[in-house]
């Protein structure tokens, strides 16, 4: 019976495809029109002319620099996550001590601490630490808030390593560190790429922390650039849509190559 088509859900899926794809089409179509053409034809029409002036304008407004800053933030966040999450997840899955169970609960509770809840003291602390208006001041808290979900994803992967493999290692007299590097890391490649992609998304898409913790043009990231562009160029809709398109391109490229890692990792988050 599973092969019989599911018409109700199929219709919903088709409708949802339109809801997702149409705005993205309008975005790209509008971004290659001149402002005059766009307001004359309306957003739902097929473009009659083609121009890349909107994209040039976006880069004239400093988006190149925003890109660079966002890359640095993203790289920093991924590096920290990949450094601290694997040992944590390994200990949670393998150690049987009460303290590690407690640590796991601690991180699960952390899942529900929204950045908004701590943003006011974060501003105070980052100021006090002298990190205000620096990229490092964005990287550190962003990475910290990516930890709970990444731990959840990676422990999910590591749990599927069978005890027999650890037994085989311990027969050989392996230490926990040896088992970690020789067994756990190679077998967790899927989970590791998921948390890398996931934390990269957090770094790339972050908005509130950069909004509050930076100030100068030279430390601006791409999401803030978009927000500013919108407030300043509110009537230039094709220009704004070109900026949004530009901001999405790197993410979509990563998605093309890492779709499986991201989707499968997230699928496990819901629990069964």
């Amino acid at each position: 019976m599973r092969t019989r088509p599911n018409y109700i859900a199929g219709a919903a899926a088709a409708l949802w495809l339109v809801i997702v794809a149409l705005p993205l089409y309008v975005m790209v179509a509008a971004s290659v029109q001149t402002r005059g053409d766009f307001s004359a034809n309306g957003p739902l029409s097929v473009p009659t002319s083609l121009t890349f002036d909107n994209y040039l304008e976006v880069f004239r407004q400093g988006f190149g620099g925003y890109f660079l800053n966002t890359f640095i933030v993203t790289g920093g966040v991924v590096a920290i996550v990949l450094l601290v999450v694997p040992p944590l997840s390994y200990a949670i899955v393998r150690s049987q001590g009460r303290s590690t169970t407690f640590v796991f609960r601690f991180f699960l509770l952390g899942l529900a601490i929204p950045v908004q809840a701590v943003i006011v003291p974060m501003f105070y602390l980052i100021n006090t630490a002298g990190l205000y208006d620096t990229l490092l001041g964005i990287i550190l808290p962003t990475a910290a808030f990516a930890l709970p979900i990444c731990t959840l994803i990676l422990t999910g992967t590591m749990r599927d390593i069978t005890p027999e493999l650890y037994e085989a290692m311990s027969v050989d007299g392996a230490t926990p560190a040896r088992a970690f590097f020789r067994l756990v890391l190679p077998l967790s490649k899927g989970g590791l790429s998921t948390i890398a992609v996931f934390s990269a998304l957090q770094g790339w898409n972050g908005f509130l922390l950069p909004l509050i913790l930076t100030q100068s043009e030279s430390n601006r990231v791409i999401t803030l650039g978009l927000f500013n562009f919108q407030t300043q160029y509110g009537v230039n809709v094709p220009g704004i849509l070109a900026a949004v398109t530009v901001s999405m391109i790197p993410v979509l490229l990563v998605y093309l190559f890492a779709r499986r890692a991201l989707v499968q990792g997230l699928m496990g988050v819901g629990g069964k």
Binding site: N6, L88, A112, P163, F207
Partner: protein, 315 residues
């Protein structure tokens, strides 16, 4: 579960010859508490220390310069009589309820569909998940432009949108925020349900078929009950997400018209970072913390996350 813990009553010292990997020897290959320290210290520094600081700040007055001054319950008294604060809590509740009601049915339907036999579904679901990748900022800027009163879609479809100024009154402004939230987050919840639907054992469906149950009957009697935990998880994530909606409100409506869409998270931002009243902002934040923590406690309890379950369980 594939990682059953070995029995605690390990064999006595020295008699491990037959079962070399169990008991004392295997214990040596288990990582200790030290392995968790870097992550724990780091997370505490940036999430727990501020969490304590937010409590202290909520009893202080701080205008952004100098040191915070202790003022007792002053901030709390101010909030208790503040009609915008009270309204923001009701608005947050409304956002949460509307978010759950719009996102849950469609993501269950899409998730169950996507979990079926893969033919063209792989390509389609690849497109579905695009909004999941984009930043709230980009999505909000995109929809703000698409729904622009003068140049956007509503002007072209006046039979549907009337005068086209969706941001001009409370009910349409709320509808826009709910719709944009749905556009952004339905893919994520679809994924949760897709995973859940995939892990429903096929034998249950075969048994239902033998009993003569149709697809709709099987959906309500097998699929939905089997996905119970995922539904709970998904709804709780929606509640936390709805509670902390911020970028969408800032970029789409800026809390307006007036204070018509000023939800609690946005009000906190306004108090702290626009009026530079960090004490009051901290008090609003603390309200968010309490609500979010209550939800997270329920999440850990109900969903069984903490029970060390493998993703293969139930198969």
């Amino acid at each position: 579960m594939t990682t059953l813990n070995p029995p605690r009553s390990a064999s006595p010292e020295g008699s491990t010859a037959n079962r070399p990997a169990r008991g004392g020897r295997e214990h040596k290959t288990r990582p200790g508490f030290l392995w968790t320290l870097p992550a724990t210290v780091f997370f505490s520094l940036f999430a727990v220390v501020p969490l304590i600081a937010v409590v202290l700040l909520s009893f202080s007055s701080w205008r952004g310069i100098g040191d915070p001054k202790f003022v007792g319950l002053e901030n709390w008294q101010e909030l208790a009589g503040d009609s915008v604060m009270i309204q923001s809590l009701w608005l947050s509740l409304l956002f949460i309820v509307l978010g759950v009601l719009t996102q849950t049915p469609i993501s269950i339907l899409l998730g169950v569909w996507a979990a079926g036999e893969q033919r063209n579904r792989a390509v389609l679901s690849a497109i579905y998940f695009v909004p999941l990748l984009l930043s709230s900022a980009a999505i909000s800027v995109l929809w703000r432009a698409l729904l622009d009163p003068n140049f956007g879609i509503p002007g072209q479809l006046s039979w549907l949108f009337g005068d086209g100024n969706l941001f001009g009154n409370q009910s349409t402004a709320i509808a826009v925020i709910i719709f944009v939230g749905m556009w952004q987050f339905t893919p994520f919840h679809t994924l949760i349900y897709q995973g859940a639907a995939k892990s429903v054992p096929a034998v249950l469906y075969q048994a239902a078929e033998v009993d003569g149950a149709g697809r709709v009957r099987a959906f309500f009697s097998i699929t939905l009950p089997q996905m119970r935990n995922s539904i709970i998880t998904s709804v709780i994530l929606m509640v936390v997400g709805g509670l902390t909606t911020f970028e969408t409100v800032l970029i789409l409506t800026d809390g307006g018209p007036g204070t018509a869409t000023t939800i609690t998270a946005f009000y906190m931002y306004e108090q702290a970072f626009q009026r530079f009243d960090f004490g009051v902002g901290a008090a609003v934040a603390l309200v968010l913390v309490v609500v979010a923590t209550a939800i997270s406690l329920i999440m850990v309890k109900v969903s069984g996350y903490d029970k060390m379950r493998s993703t293969m369980e139930g198969l």
